[in-house]
């Protein structure tokens, strides 16, 4: 089996759900890449966690076009890992030395901001968990920029039905967020009902 080229990885991740899974699986199981990350992170379990986080960030970078092919995808991936490690170390440092000059200058995040970020994610996860069964899949495809026709094909429903269901799922998510005073408070927002 030959290694995938940059183009194959990128078009795969941006492709159909099956192509996307295949490409991400390739990235996830890449022996060479794992070995490089293992070299950067000494602890085996932590290395696995960091690798997983990097796959998530890499996927997002490919989807949003942040990856501009200035390097090959493996180099870019290792760059993500390095930034992740720097970020982790920075956040860890913040927990113990919150009044360092760089914090006061705004060069690094204040520990409170880090906490808010974590809290926001936690609250969002709670909102997602309350969504009806078919919603996560539909919203995933929506975020992946699939057309309604593609979403309908994947969900084995009509296009009109897909559109309706996707809208309903978004409405439900919006409703959960609007009715979550903690979440709105975290973001310093007022009630967001239309």
């Amino acid at each position: 089996m030959e290694p995938w080229t940059d183009a194959e990885i990128i078009t795969g991740i941006q492709g159909t759900p099956a192509e996307r899974d295949m490409a991400l699986r390739r990235v996830f199981l890449d022996v060479k890449l794992r070995s490089t990350v293992r070299g950067l992170v000494r602890d085996e379990q932590r290395s696995k966690d960091v690798f997983q986080e990097a796959v998530i960030k890499f996927d997002r970078a490919i989807r949003t076009g942040a990856f501009e092919s200035r390097s090959n995808w493996r180099t870019y991936f290792v760059g993500i890992v390095k930034w992740h490690l720097v970020d982790e170390a920075r956040k860890k440092g913040n927990q113990t030395q919150e009044l360092k000059p760089e914090v006061l200058d705004g060069a690094t995040e204040h520990p409170e901001i880090v906490l808010i970020e974590g809290e926001r994610r936690k609250l969002l996860k709670t909102a997602i968990a309350r969504l009806p069964g078919e919603c996560p899949e539909l919203l995933e495809m929506y975020m992946l920029d699939y057309s309604m026709k593609e979403i309908a094909e994947q969900a084995v429903i009509s296009e009109a039905n897909a559109k309706q269901q996707a809208k309903r799922c978004r409405d439900r998510l919006r409703e959960f967020i609007s009715n979550s005073p903690e979440l709105l408070h975290v973001l310093n927002l007022k009630t967001a009902k239309s």
């Binding site: 949003t64 994610r121 996560p136 975020m143 978004r170 919006r174 927002l189």
Partner: protein
């Protein structure tokens, strides 16, 4: 807050970078002076973040499944395995030397020309159970000059005599290493061909996922040649489930492992032998299995 559908779509397009630059700039200018617009954008950003989180969670789930395909990480034991292996080999060597010195009737190397596959089975032999019979006769197909001192030795000799080492000289090279140096598979195959079986198995301590079947195959045969039938059985068993085209071959070799491990693996041996001999299976090793059974029956 104005959250009508068209306004939401506009913000959504803005946040996903689809809004034309002039419209995006207009929206930004509006949000700078209008707190409601700014709040609506933040709200939509949060909503998108929620959907992004769904993507993340689903990807994590998938990665959890793919994790099972990863090669087993090297433990400290396996990293220093060669030291333990050398010590173990030394111990075995001393034990064999002492045993050979005390018992002149040691087992000679099996003669591949007299494998059960090359023998003509006698018709009308019973199907089962096998390997449960009293051990009062040496099988006729046993290698010449071999005088097993125990029942285990007889099974072991028969397993070795029935075994044929595969040719790994034409194994697929694989493409995991783009640097041009030989892949792990190539290195392991080279060691195997040189009969450096321990090195072959050690080289594939981490199995390359893109050549899993070939890697398992080399490891399984390396273990068999190292006479570590338990480990060989584990690898062959894996191949019987995931080995694709190699499945039948793996089943036959797994049977030989069980044979070498008799009487401990008697139940598994009998079950697998029956399966391979089952006419409905049209197993390519059915004839060999039948021949093996005749040999065992003749040894009763």
């Amino acid at each position: 807050m104005n959250l009508d559908a068209s306004f939401l779509d506009k913000i959504d397009d803005y946040l996903s970078g689809k809004l034309p630059p002039d419209e995006a700039m207009a929206l930004e200018q509006k949000s700078a002076v209008d707190p409601e617009t700014a709040e609506a954008i933040e709200f939509m950003r949060l909503e998108r973040e929620g959907m992004e989180l769904i993507l993340e969670e689903r990807l994590r789930e998938k990665m959890g499944g793919w994790e099972e395909e990863l090669p087993t990480p090297k433990t400290n034991l396996s990293r220093y395995g060669w030291v333990l292996g050398a010590a173990f080999a030394l111990l075995i060597g001393v034990a064999v030397w002492r045993w050979a010195a005390s018992d002149p009737q040691t087992i000679s190397a099996p003669d591949p020309a007299k494998t059960p596959a090359n023998t003509v089975p006698a018709p009308g032999q019973p199907d089962a159970p096998i390997a449960q019979q009293p051990d009062n006769q040496i099988p006729t197909q046993a290698p010449p000059g071999q005088k097993p001192s125990s029942k285990e030795n007889r099974y072991l000799a028969l397993a070795q005599a029935s075994y044929q080492s595969p040719d790994f000289s034409n194994i697929r090279k694989g493409g995991a290493d783009a640097s041009g140096s030989p892949s792990l598979i190539e290195q392991a195959a080279a060691f195997y061909i040189q009969k450096k079986f321990a090195l072959a198995a050690q080289t594939l301590d981490s199995i390359p996922p893109n050549q899993r079947t070939d890697a398992l195959k080399i490891r399984a045969h390396a273990f068999f040649n190292l006479k570590n039938y338990n480990l060989a059985a584990v690898e062959f068993e894996d191949l019987t489930k995931t080995g694709g085209r190699y499945r039948n071959d793996a089943e036959w070799h797994l049977l030989l492992c069980y044979l070498a491990l008799l009487p401990a693996e008697q139940a598994r041996f009998d079950t697998l032998l029956r399966k391979i001999r089952d006419p409905q299976q049209s197993h390519p090793f059915a004839d060999k299995a039948t021949a093996l059974q005749k040999v065992l029956a003749a040894g009763r």
